[in-house]
């Protein structure tokens, strides 16, 4: 991965460097947007590593992240999750299932009017907290909610 992208993704000294690079024609604007898939974060096998690889270690617990999930999942392969961040300036939303073999499920970058709201359906291997982290104003915040997943049987 070229160094410019790595710098941008890790979020250190990004803006100035990237702008210079673009102006110099070394980096096309489209390249920056098409960020490379965060293999380290998606491959992390525990929450601590996943958060570290997303640069959000030490995210503060927040009551302003609303997580709508079922109490007991009908089927762990299709669990509806709805996330709303009331924190002003939310620029990204990340969803994890703490007890999944690889906790990071998805990461969303918001821009140009996209509201801090995501609705999706995820796979949960077992009863676990669904954790959400958001980035807002250069800081990271987090919240979680437990979803019970029973080993199915009949289900009529």
């Amino acid at each position: 991965m070229n160094q410019m992208r790595r710098t941008f993704l890790k979020g250190t000294g990004a803006a100035g460097t990237v702008a210079v690079a673009i102006a110099a024609g070394l980096l096309k604007p489209g390249q920056v947007l098409a960020a490379e898939w965060n293999k380290e974060a998606f491959g992390s096998k525990n929450m601590a590593d996943a958060m570290k690889n997303l640069n959000i270690a030490g995210a503060a617990e927040s009551k302003d992240i609303l997580i709508k999930v079922p109490d007991i999942a009908e089927n762990g392969v299709v669990v509806p999750v709805e996330v709303t961040s009331k924190i002003p300036g939310t620029t990204s939303i990340m969803i994890f299932v703490e007890k999944n073999a690889a906790p990071l499920v998805a990461e969303f970058e918001l821009s140009n009017g996209a509201e801090a709201y995501i609705s999706t359906r995820i796979k949960m291997a077992s009863t676990s907290h669904v954790r959400v982290a958001v980035k807002a104003g250069g800081k990271a915040y987090t919240a979680s909610k437990e979803v019970k997943v029973t080993l199915g049987g009949c289900g009529g």
Binding site: L33, A34, A35, W37, N38, F42, V77, V78, V79, P80, E82, V97, N100, A101, A102, L104, V105, A106, E107, F108, E109, L110, S111, N112, G113, A114, E115, Y117, I118, S119, T120, R121, I122, K123, M124
Partner: protein, 103 residues
């Protein structure tokens, strides 16, 4: 026109509510083939970009834990009737899906 995607949009005031349903197996790579006992290779959408009138509103990276035939809902403030919404997705094999809708 959609290729592997269905989209529904509604407009309330100046907020567009977007719902997308994609057609993809989202194979995790941890399941074993019942007959051969071999691991079925991971095959999942890992990149999604949504634009409104050409401007990126949402860029997402996914892992295989997003459910099969993925559902995605998001909202855009400052939208108006006639705006063009495009969603492009790519999977870990480089296969692409896309969908378009007019708000």
């Amino acid at each position: 026109m959609a290729d592997g995607m269905k989209m529904r949009t509604t407009l309330q005031g100046d907020t567009a509510d977007v719902k997308v349903l994609m057609n993809h197996i989202m194979e995790t790579g941890t399941r074993k083939d019942a007959k051969t006992g071999q691991l079925i290779p991971a095959h999942f959408i890992n990149h999604v970009v949504a634009t409104l009138n050409g401007k990126t509103v949402l860029e997402a990276q996914w892992g295989a834990a997003v459910s099969k035939n993925p559902f995605l809902g998001f909202r855009i403030k400052g939208a108006k009737t006639g705006d063009k919404l495009v969603v492009n997705a790519e999977d870990n094999k480089g296969e692409k899906l896309s969908g378009e809708a007019t708000i």
